[in-house]
């Protein structure tokens, strides 16, 4: 399968959107583009499985390598392994849902969809890059659309949030950049190519310098404590689709980067800093959860819970076991779907009630059965209910984490486990305030979800349930990738 198509399709869609005239055209062009993306991503999955089933044991499949800046040894190198395929599928799901959810956006429709699609270009490119320069390129591509999405279409203290988000993410990517340059200049081949880099040995002292740069840099993207403050503000101010993309895709860029670049290329650094990472991430998990407990705004609730959940991703990565890393990737996918859906639902509720304060709502289940049912499911997913994706991911991480018999890892794992209780507390608190209790009279006229909203929710729910009920396909997809990373860690 030609991977460039996956970058080109959203790009062409974006350009096509720019060329359209009416709002109707904009929406349908985007939707068709997103539909093609989702089909392509599923095809990719099928092809990938076929290849693997056919005995192709290469680390990266469907590679394409063009020279880009030959003088600087920068290539346009694409390739996927199971981890990438999983995240690409996630992206496709979130993109189409995001487009459906923002179907009725009034203000500057064309620009809105253009930016959304641009963001997806960044995400696809990032997940497929095998060249670090390219990876960085796509990482940064995704920043500015977010800024504009929040700043123009957002709500609340949007300018502040947009600024904070853009600056903090840029700060993260600045650190990443320095780390990448360090990698580049210390490998004898002077290459940015991930596969080549993985076979060269990078000196220990360089690993010690570059690893924190890269990990913190990417960590900012995925809300690593204490660099997470952009998350709540950014998410809460963003328009619905923006929050979905932010939490669903963008935070995954960080996790993927931590895994694929920081840990994979710098295993010695990873081992040295592993304890720090797991401590930070477990602080993030619990801290995020406790802070969530105190929030009153639905979006803040989900945003802080994202901090907590993305802490699991980093925890899994920091644990440096195959199972934990697999779990981290599953958590990325799971959280992406779940949080996107959560934001979508919040958006739907907000559209109807014009408030996001949980204290001001109540009894919405009566009037909005579909939306609230989805809210329930997504909440349950968040608190790790079996049969939904969150459970699979968290349990895999716990199992992987527990494989370290020393005291620190034990304590950290137990603390992380404790978050499932806190999560239950805040999710149930939020849901019960929104959905249950006596209904307010003012809400008696509310209408349930429209077709586009239903479709968006169903698409994401499909993903959540598909992982939750039958996790083995995702596990099988991701495991080999995690195994290769682990080989590098244990071997090098």
């Amino acid at each position: 399968m030609n991977l460039s198509i996956l970058i080109l399709v959203p790009l062409i869609t974006a350009v096509a959107v720019l060329l359209t005239r009416t709002r109707q055209q904009v929406r349908w062009v985007s939707l068709i583009g997103a539909a093609i993306q989702i089909i392509l991503s599923l095809l990719l999955f099928v092809y990938y499985r076929n290849e693997v089933a056919a005995g192709n044991t290469a680390q990266m499949l469907f590679q394409q390598n063009y020279e880009w800046f030959p003088a600087l040894h920068i290539g346009f190198h694409l390739g996927v392994d199971g981890i990438s395929v999983a995240l690409i599928m996630l992206t496709a799901f979130v993109v189409i849902a995001g487009i459906l959810v923002s179907w009725n956006i009034e203000k500057m429709t064309k620009e809105f969809y253009f930016l959304l699609l641009l963001l997806s270009v960044g995400a696809y490119g990032f997940f497929m890059s095998l060249d670090l320069f390219m990876l960085f390129f796509f990482l940064e591509i995704a920043v500015i659309p977010k800024y504009l999405l929040i700043g123009i279409w957002g709500s609340g203290n949007k300018e502040y949030s947009a600024n904070k988000l853009a600056l903090m993410l840029m700060g993260g990517s600045a650190l990443v950049l320095v780390g990448l340059l360090g990698l580049y200049f210390t490998n004898p081949e002077r290459t940015f190519d991930l596969l080549k880099l993985s076979t060269t040995h990078i000196p220990h002292n360089i690993q010690m310098i570059c690893f924190p740069l890269l990990f913190i840099g990417f960590g900012v993207f995925s809300g690593l404590f204490p660099f997470h403050t952009w998350v709540p503000d950014g998410h809460s101010s963003a328009p619905t689709a923006g929050s979905m993309f932010l939490a669903g895709i963008s935070m995954k860029l960080g996790g993927y980067g931590c895994l694929r670049v920081a840990v994979y290329l710098l295993p010695e650094g990873a081992k040295e800093y592993a304890n720090l990472i797991i401590v930070l991430s477990v602080i993030g998990i619990l801290y995020g959860a406790f802070v969530t407990m105190m929030q009153k705004d639905l979006k803040y609730i989900n945003a802080y819970s994202s901090v907590s959940h993305c802490g699991f991703v980093l925890l899994g990565i920091g644990m440096l076991t195959k199972t934990a890393i697999t779990g981290a990737v599953i958590q990325m996918v799971s959280h992406g779907l779940m949080t996107a859906l959560f934001f979508a639902v919040i958006g739907m509720i907000y559209q109807r009630t014009h408030t996001r304060m949980i204290d001001e709502m109540g009894g919405l289940l009566k009037k909005l059965p579909f939306i609230i049912t989805v809210l329930f499911i997504v909440g349950f997913c968040s608190l790790g209910l079996p049969g939904l994706s969150g459970f699979v991911a968290e349990m895999t991480i716990f199992m992987g984490s527990w494989q370290h018999p020393d005291m620190l890892h034990r304590i950290v794992t137990i603390l992380a486990c404790m978050s499932i209780v806190v999560t239950a507390v805040y999710i149930l608190r939020a849901i019960s305030k929104v959905a249950m209790g006596p209904m307010k009279a003012t809400y008696s006229h509310l209408k349930d979800a429209a077709w586009n909203e239903k479709l968006a929710a169903v698409i994401l729910l499909f993903g959540i349930i598909a992982i939750g009920v039958a996790p083995f396909w995702l596990n099988d997809l991701v495991r080999p990738g995690a195994e290769i990373i682990m080989q590098k860690i244990t071997g090098g």
Partner: protein, 647 residues
């Protein structure tokens, strides 16, 4: 051989009901959903009974031992080599017994609800939730894998949450469902960590392998698990204690019992099904499932089980004597009875006669399911009739609800351990096992037994005798008991409650699978039965007629009565912990920290930059001569710097 398809259908049929009714119920099966659910469950129940028949009488027994059969198993999630979640079925005596109990009680509740929930707006949702619960519970008992059991454990919890919160517009129901879920979640945390410990040492999640590895003294896994210790207990004991914590949460053992009384906010049939007969015994089932490990490798943990069970039994019984809400009385009685089952397990040994406690526990579980479901359904009928839960609103109902009255009486006799009703046999065995192993536990059990008889008959007399309030004089005679669908389950369950005791349980359910005949000592039975009769007598004295005796007696207990009436202030304690400690001491400071310190630092960075920018603006003074001066000074500084210092 067992028929795999049939086996799989047992849980899958209710699941199908859940999916079907959940997705389309509101639209297409608004009225027929009850029937659909009931039919599916009926099929499931029949299959379960068929399976039980096949297992116990045809394929189960090999060489005198009931085998643990795993008819099918699929790898659901692979963690690492050997450690994986396998979805499968483990068929052994206890799981088969549970299948029968669950499907039977569930069927009864389905039928009963046809009448009880009639006209409810979310009728189909109710049935879909019931389907989900039944599915989860069946999946739980069939689990072949400790993680599988955890999965269904959680699912059971969520269905319980959904059903307790079924009347979602009632704030008390909302609070109750949240409480139920969170408290059990907290217990599950222990369970989860326990699983992690066990799986780490045993290198597997599979029940059979796990039990085998952790009980055979010469396996390396066992050695490792025993060798590593923490705070003076071996890792294995810790694991088992934590697993028991999960069980204790679900089974409402002290101090994790607080959710169960509140859970009565759900529809009464649900209470019958979930909070009396099935889900709450999941903890007992879990301990029973891992019983060999408890008994052989972690006796300390088992002792803990015994004491927790016994204390809970007594404690709950005391509270039950003081409650006025009939469902709460039943709830505390449930807690007390589960305490019985727990300590029965705790006083059991592994294999043969020593395993009497195990058999007794399972037996009691079985009989308790019958009479407790019956009690709840009976209470449901009463509530359906009266529209109130409070005892003071009731009295003299035997005229209006004859069938309910009789069946309720049967159940009360059963639970009080009056021969020849079912409870007598199971309780007898429990007490006997306890007396042989642990005198303290035995005496606690005995006292509890007497208290049980007292509070059950207190309930009985208060509802059906006592006064006849004038409010009831309205013409309700014909409306009575809600029709056939509500009476039939009562009768069926009453039959169960009356005669289930005669099943020779020791033949089927034993700790090691080998049948044995429990020795019965009629002399031994005298004391418990006598105590039960005394309890009934006191209750008769106090509540048969309207009088002021109860008030006097309660006054004579003074502070103790008040404490018991307030459930020994456990709710307040928890409220203190959550509100004052978790929210105010952790959550609020964390939120403050986030807004002010973490966020503040970020903002401060920005502000400082701005401030510095304002501070240094004077450099750009607009005066060209000053520019020149800076120019020269910079030049000289650079020259000096690089000539003399920085080479």
């Amino acid at each position: 051989m067992l028929n795999n398809t049939y086996l799989m259908l047992i849980p899958l049929l209710p699941l199908a009901g859940f999916v079907l009714l959940g997705l389309f119920g509101r639209k297409y099966f608004k009225n027929s959903s009850g029937i659909i659910g009931t039919i599916l469950l009926l099929a499931s129940a029949l299959l379960a009974i068929y399976t039980a028949y096949q297992y116990f009488f045809q394929v189960g027994k090999v060489n005198g031992f009931y085998q643990k059969i795993i008819p099918f198993q699929y790898t659901w999630l692979q963690f690492s080599e050997g450690v994986s979640i396998n979805m499968g079925a483990l068929i052994d005596p206890i799981s088969v017994m549970m299948l029968v109990v669950i499907t039977f009680v569930s069927l009864m509740v389905h039928i009963y609800s046809l009448g009880y929930m009639k006209g409810e707006e979310r009728f189909s949702t109710y049935y879909s939730f019931l389907g989900l619960f039944t599915f989860s519970m069946l999946g739980l008992v069939m689990s072949s894998n400790i993680f599988q059991i955890y999965i269904f454990w959680e699912l059971v919890g969520i269905s319980s949450f959904l059903l307790i919160g079924f009347y979602y517009e009632k704030p008390s129901a909302v609070a109750a469902c949240k409480k139920a879920f969170i408290v059990t979640r907290f217990a599950d945390l222990g369970f989860l960590i326990g699983i992690l410990i066990l799986s780490f040492y045993s290198g597997t999640l599979d029940f059979n392998t796990l039990i085998e590895r952790l009980t055979s003294p010469d396996s390396s896994q066992f050695q490792a698990a025993i060798a590593s210790s923490f705070l003076g207990m071996s890792a294995l004991t810790w694991g088992m204690v934590l697993v028991f914590m999960g069980g204790a949460g679900k089974s409402a053992m002290l101090p994790l019992h607080i959710w169960l009384p509140d859970a009565m906010e759900g529809p009464t049939p649900v209470s019958a099904l979930i909070h009396a007969a099935t889900m709450v015994v999941a903890g007992v089932y879990l301990v029973a499932r891992l019983f060999p490990v408890f008994a052989l490798s972690a006796p300390e943990a088992l002792t803990l089980v015994a004491y927790v069970g016994a204390i809970t039994a007594l404690f709950a019984a005391v509270i039950a004597c003081t409650q006025t809400d009939i469902k709460r009385v039943l709830a505390f009685s449930t807690i007390s009875q589960i305490g019985y089952m727990m300590f029965a397990l705790g006083v059991a040994g592994y294999g043969g006669e020593a395993g009497l406690g195990f058999t007794a526990s399972m037996f009691h579980l079985f009989t308790h399911a019958m009479f407790k479901a019956l009690l709840f359904l009976g209470a449901g009928s009463v509530i359906h009739f009266i529209h109130s839960n409070e005892m003071k609103d009731m009295g003299g109902l035997r005229k209006y609800l004859p069938v309910t009255h009789i069946t309720f009486l049967v159940a009360c006799l059963a639970i009080s351990g009056i021969p020849p009703f079912a409870g007598f046999f199971s309780k007898e065995e429990i007490l006997f096992a306890a007396s042989q192993h642990n005198q303290a536990v035995y005496w606690i059990g005995l006292i509890t037994s007497g208290l049980t008889a007292f509070y059950m008959f207190r309930l009985y007399f208060s509802i059906f005798w006592n006064k006849a309030p004038s409010t009831l004089e309205r013409a309700r005679g014909e409306a009575g008991e809600g029709g056939f669908v509500m009476i039939l389950p009562l009768i069926l369950l009453a039959i169960g409650a009356a005669f289930a005791g005669f099943i020779p349980f020791g033949n089927f359910v034993t700790s090691d699978g080998k049948s044995f005949e429990p020795v019965s000592h009629w002399q031994f039975s005298v004391l418990p039965v006598a105590l039960g009769l005394i309890g009934i007598f006191i209750a008769w004295r106090m509540y048969k007629k309207e009088n002021n005796l109860p008030d006097k007696i309660s006054a004579s207990f003074g502070g103790f009565y008040k404490a018991a009436y307030n459930k020994f202030y456990f709710d307040e304690l928890y409220l203190f912990i959550t509100k004052k400690i978790v929210f105010n001491l952790i959550g609020r400071p964390a939120a403050w920290f986030d807004r002010n310190v973490v966020n503040g630092l970020v903002n401060a960075t920005g502000n400082t930059t701005e401030k510095v920018s304002t501070k240094i603006k004077g450099i750009q003074s607009g005066k060209v001569q000053q520019y020149g001066l800076y120019f020269l000074v910079a030049t000289i500084t650079m020259a000096v710097l690089f000539i003399y210092w920085w080479k």
